[in-house]
Amino acid sequence: MEGNLVLQNFLNPTILFFFLGALAKIVKSDLEIPQPIPKFLSLYLLMAIGFKGGVELHSSGISGDVILSLGVAVFMAFVVPVYSFYILRRKFGIADSAAIAATYGSISAVTFITATSFLGRLDISYGGHLVAAMALMESPAIIVGVLLYRYHNKDSDDESGNSWKEILREAFLNGSVFLIMGSLVIGFVTGEDGAKTLTPFTNEIFKGMLAFFLLDMGIVAAKRLEVLKSGGLFIISFAIILPLFNALAGIGIAHLIGMTVGDALLFSILCASGSYIAVPAAIRLTIPEANPSFYIPMALGITFPFNIILGLPLYLWIIELLWS
């Protein structure tokens, strides 16, 4: 792996804005991005990435390869939380294990977006259907997490729990999932033609909006990390080892079904990333016993920066080794 690639990745402005945010928190600056500005930026990012993905899917068409990729994506979204749960159970209670497993089974849209920028800088192409894969991978892990929790926690007072209807709605219709999915469909339906007029909004200012959002993510991530300090080394190392493991699993599958280098990188980062926007809300409602000071900081404070700084060049290095 070229250390150069790591440095180059680190020194791009969007990533640096993430660290500027983290630094603000560390040196105790009062820099703050008040709500709902972060919400505005994140809705924008979801809308833009979904739409762009849909437009690209329109041009490429839905081939057998595309369907195969989507299939393995959904497969991983079901499998990752299961094995993660049993690993986690060695150190955590049932509720926390299920919550963390759901977190890592799902995906982080901003990690994915950062990965597409990373590929863009290196002129490596990728398929628009990976956005569809991302959208499909958000929800299943929530269902699996709740199932695992309920299965192992049978004696708990079932009546007070949420009905399955509510859990499914939380999983498949929460705002982020719905918006990215819907924007993808709109992009797919309207195609290049419809996209033309939206391009300045969805594409040109995109990197800047991403940089702005990462500034806020840096602040929040550093804040969350403080909470985690008490959690000890196990949590931190777990938040690095599990994504590494998941990335490798993703790379393996990608190799097996013959994805391109770009697609393989995106797929591996989907497997490796954990959700800190959509899943926490769903888990708060469905597994209220789980402690949010575990599952949020792990995904946001450790896994996210690890993936975007070291993970991306590392996974790409492995992929290029295997593919060549």
Partner: protein, 97 residues
């Protein structure tokens, strides 16, 4: 002026709709909600998450007849037990209009 009871409930924002439904099921016809308040209690700090919508509270105020207090408290108690929060009851006078 009428002697009434003021019930203030502080609870996780995600639970508010459920609690309001329970209040209405127990005869509450009017309430006021202050969204996005933050706080600290037995379950730690709820200072907003900044990214997801979790970890913040809402404050419900509902004014009712003294006779309604019992039913209302019993309705919200299990919710507060499970997800945390506070329920305060105090006396007030209601200006007729």
């Amino acid at each position: 002026m009428k002697q009434v009871k003021k019930i203030e409930i502080i609870a996780d924002s995600l639970e508010i709709n459920k609690i309001l439904a329970k209040l209405e099921a127990n005869g509450v016809t009017g309430y006021t909600v202050i969204k996005d308040v933050i706080g600290k209690g037995e379950r730690g700090v709820r200072g907003g998450d900044g990214l997801s919508d979790v970890l913040k509270n809402s404050l419900i105020i509902t004014v009712c007849e003294p006779g309604q207090v019992k039913a209302i408290s019993e309705a919200v108690q299990p919710e507060l037990k499970k997800f945390g929060g506070v329920c305060l009851i105090s006396d007030a006078q209601w200006l007729d209009h």
